[in-house]
Amino acid sequence: MEGKSEIVEVKTFPFPAGFNWAVGPMMERFIRTLAGRKVLGARCPGCGYTYVPPRSRCGQCQAAIAEKDVVELSGKGTLISYTNAHVAPDGNGNLKDLEKPIVVGAVKLEDADSVLFMPVEGVKPQDLKIGLAVKVRWREETKGAVADICCFEPVG
């Protein structure tokens, strides 16, 4: 045991915990509407800030946002930042090397203020730049789940 720890290694984490979160009516509508290939936002009646996904309370001005404030967005947006991610957490507390780097983009949607953090696909490395016009690429079969949004891809 010379120079070595006498601490016994105990592995009890991660534990399989199930949580049930109420998503609320706005988020439920957002998720269900994805089935029809539409992205919804919520425009604050107090300050005009538009949240995606919709929220029922405005953090900017603390107004209540109601279902009448839900707006339909184009699903198009602008890449305001991006990174080629070479590593990701492996779920067990370590970083793993990704087989192929993935592009993670920060996307500002048309007529919205929130920024979405999404995988970006179908862009040639030399075309990847801030300001690139992008749109949602939908999964082939949508079913009303967050996973219906496959990634963002260049417009046209």
Partner: protein, 383 residues
């Protein structure tokens, strides 16, 4: 402030990758160390505040065995989540309220328990971002870095220069984790690309470590030490959730600093502060912080690193200890900055000492892309 409060003792661990020590032992050692440094005993403490995060500790109510190791047995005690500077703020309020005179503040994380980057994913919105599954603190930092760099013509070399400054400063710090006396810009740029432009040496290491600080009311402080370090100003502010903030700037740090400066009577930070200790988890955050702290104008952060203004011999040294790039025992990192700043004022900073420090700033943060920020202005004429 109505009542003056001073730092009268402190201690920190030798931060390292895997300490091979129980959390209880690690906490015990720094708390005993801080009491010894102050020359007081457990009986003198009125209250004990600890800081940690249950997720990082790998158990709920993780303070259960920490409080006793910190000397809190049958005393007023509380725990604050996240950074140790938040715990110091809480302890300061207790002393300012007049209900307590002497407080011990302890903070710790053992990164070897559960990787902090993994834990960062659990801080995201479970209904959306966690389901999309591509965001973590490193990717988020990379997005922030590129946004900031794009706005102000900052290059990868500028980020590498920050890393070179801090990692070589850390080499002179006996408590630091990542010490690289001879590191070069090329070596930093050549280190492993994690999420571009962020390389391995531009990101803080995951450390095991703890620290403790003892604060006291003016009357008690003068009894305890001839070199009190006064808390002259404090400010705290936080950003909205990552989807709804401007990632390209550290607006909450700006507000926190403005609040602390007002309290401390600081008008020109670059002239009034003698040293700054930052919790920069990524190199680009340091450049952004120069601007938010008012050490330069917006977009001019790169000039300070180019000109060596923030080097150990510069006009306003930043992170002479090596900062968070030198060691990052997550929840302890901000409180370590407070200790490093206090050491500078007392003339106890060993190889990291900067001459003639009267006023120092210490910064703590928590959350992705520095979501929550805390600024302390410390003062004294100890050395």
């Amino acid at each position: 402030m109505r009542r003056r409060v001073a730092i009268v003792g402190y201690a920190q661990s030798h931060h390292q990758h895997n300490m091979q020590k129980t959390r209880e032992d690690m906490v015990f050692e720094v708390c005993k160390g801080a009491l010894r440094h102050a020359g007081i005993s457990r009986e003198d403490l009125d209250t004990v505040i600890t800081a940690s995060t249950d997720f990082l500790d790998g158990r709920t109510i993780s303070s259960v065995f920490v409080g006793m190791a910190a000397g809190a047995f049958l005393k007023d005690e509380s725990k604050v989540e996240e950074d140790g500077t938040f715990a110091l703020y809480y302890a300061l309020m207790r002393v300012l309220a007049g209900t307590h005179d002497i407080a011990l503040v302890e903070a710790h994380t053992q990164g070897s328990t559960m990787n902090a980057h993994q834990v960062s994913c659990f801080t995201l919105d479970p209904q959306f971002d966690r389901q999309i599954g591509v965001l973590n603190d490193i990717a988020a930092a990379a997005l922030q870095a590129r946004m900031y760099m794009n706005s102000h013509g900052v290059t990868d070399e500028h980020l590498a220069m920050v890393a070179v400054k801090n990692l070589s400063n850390a080499a002179a710090n006996p408590w630091a984790h990542r010490k690289m006396a001879k590191v070069s810009v090329e070596e930093v740029l050549g280190s492993k690309v994690l999420c571009d432009p962020v390389r391995e040496l531009m990101m803080s290491p995951v450390s095991d470590g703890a620290c403790a600080v003892i604060i006291a009311s003016e009357e008690k402080a003068r009894e305890i030490t001839s070199k009190p370090v006064w808390i002259e100003g404090v400010g705290s502010c936080q950003e909205a959730y990552i989807r709804d903030r401007d990632l390209g700037r550290l607006e909450s740090l700006k507000t926190a600093a403005r609040t602390a400066y007002k309290m401390a009577g600081i008008k020109e930070p670059a002239a009034d502060l003698d040293v700054v200790e930052l919790s920069e988890k990524f190199a680009h955050e340091e450049l952004m912080a120069y601007e938010s702290l008012g050490l330069c104008r917006e977009g001019e952060g790169k000039r300070l690193i180019e000109k060596g203004t923030t080097g150990k011999e510069g006009k306003i040294p930043v992170n002479p200890s090596g900062g968070a790039l030198g060691a990052d025992p997550v929840c302890a990192t901000g409180l370590v900055r407070v200790i490093e700043a206090a050491k500078q004022i007392r003339g106890e900073a060993e190889g990291c000492q900067v001459p003639k420090v009267r006023r120092a700033l210490a910064h703590g943060q928590f959350g992705m892309c520095a979501q929550k920020n805390m600024v302390f202005v410390l003062g004294g004429n100890g050395s």
